[in-house]
Symmetry: C2
Subunit: 202 residues, 2 copies
């Protein structure tokens, strides 16, 4: 039975990235997260930190963004905004990676970009605010902003980006094969479920 | 390890009811679907067919509904509409059933009604339109309306009822522990996953 391309979308702080890494390890397939950023950076000419910051965030609609983007990569972006340009590169990179074979891709709207492929298992990981707030403080430490503010800001930016580029509603069960609450089910259980499902989706 | 109260919400035609029945059978716990309707009918004084038709559907806001409801059960409904009266009975019945011990409850917004209890596993079953259309024609036969129209009408009524009484958005992953696409994962796999999860939720 063929292992699938697994896309993992996630709420910030839900453990989606850790779950994806462990799933890839157990299945012995590539895990694309930072690697994806590096590849998009390479193809776009932007710095990895810039891609990391803007690739999953709300598209900027200001004139400044257009002006800046043209200055950044003159003659390459054909009048597209920085966000739209990054999106087109992101689509190409994700489709190329999925062509190579089974893998785990975290974030970057990969569920939508690969929606016409039959061999994908699309997963959404979410958890309650309390669970995620506790988790980000343990993992990333405290900051000036409250954990709840950090979560809300990040969630909102991902949501706007997703809805802008896909026309779908963020967090709707129907966009995925499997949605898991990592707070109530536990990270390990989520990993086990996804590993089991990666080989059984009809 | 204690088995949980399992609530199953579902899109019409996704197989949620069949999945719930099989889960209850495998876990050896009660399954409440028609039984729930009968209990609500008994406590409300309405006919089971009336409860079945209105219990998960859009609340009626017309004056006629109020007038009719008072005629139907004079002096009992304290000025509530029929839909609101059924909702209050439904809440009581579902909480009483959950008090009795582990069980499977299909539909009727049980995920929301039992939201403050720790021992619930909340599941949402959904599937693509094509899969559900094919399934309802096989199970319930053809009708004057196209399967897609029947699905859209039923989904819409459940959605309005859910959003009216819970203030939540229907089909949002965050309302559940586990959301499963029965069309891509298969009915049997959904049953196995829920049975496994019923005993492992933290």
């Amino acid at each position: 039975m063929e292992t699938k391309v697994i896309t993992i979308s996630r709420e910030f702080g839900s453990g989606g990235r850790s779950i994806g890494r462990e799933v890839a390890k157990r299945l012995g397939i590539p895990f694309y997260d930072k690697e994806l950023v590096d590849q998009i950076a390479l193809e776009s000419g932007f710095a990895p930190t810039f891609v990391e910051e803007h690739g999953e965030h709300a598209p900027t609609r200001s004139r400044f963004a257009y002006a800046f983007s043209h200055q950044g990569v003159p003659g390459v972006m054909n009048g597209m905004s920085t966000a739209d340009f990054l999106w087109s590169i992101q689509c190409n990179v994700i489709m190329q990676l999925a062509d190579k074979g089974p893998c785990v891709i975290v974030g970057r709207n990969a569920d939508y970009i690969l929606k016409d492929r039959k061999n994908c298992l699309d997963v959404f990981i979410h958890a309650d605010m309390d669970y995620r707030a506790d988790r980000i403080v343990r993992l990333y430490g405290e900051s000036e902003k409250s954990p709840e503010t950090r979560l809300n800001e990040k969630d909102k930016r991902r949501m706007i980006n997703y809805e802008h580029y896909t026309g779908r509603v963020w967090g709707q069960a129907r966009n995925y094969d499997l949605c898991l609450n990592s707070g109530t089910l536990g990270i390990d259980t989520c990993v086990e479920l996804i590993v089991a499902m990666a080989k059984t989706k009809e």
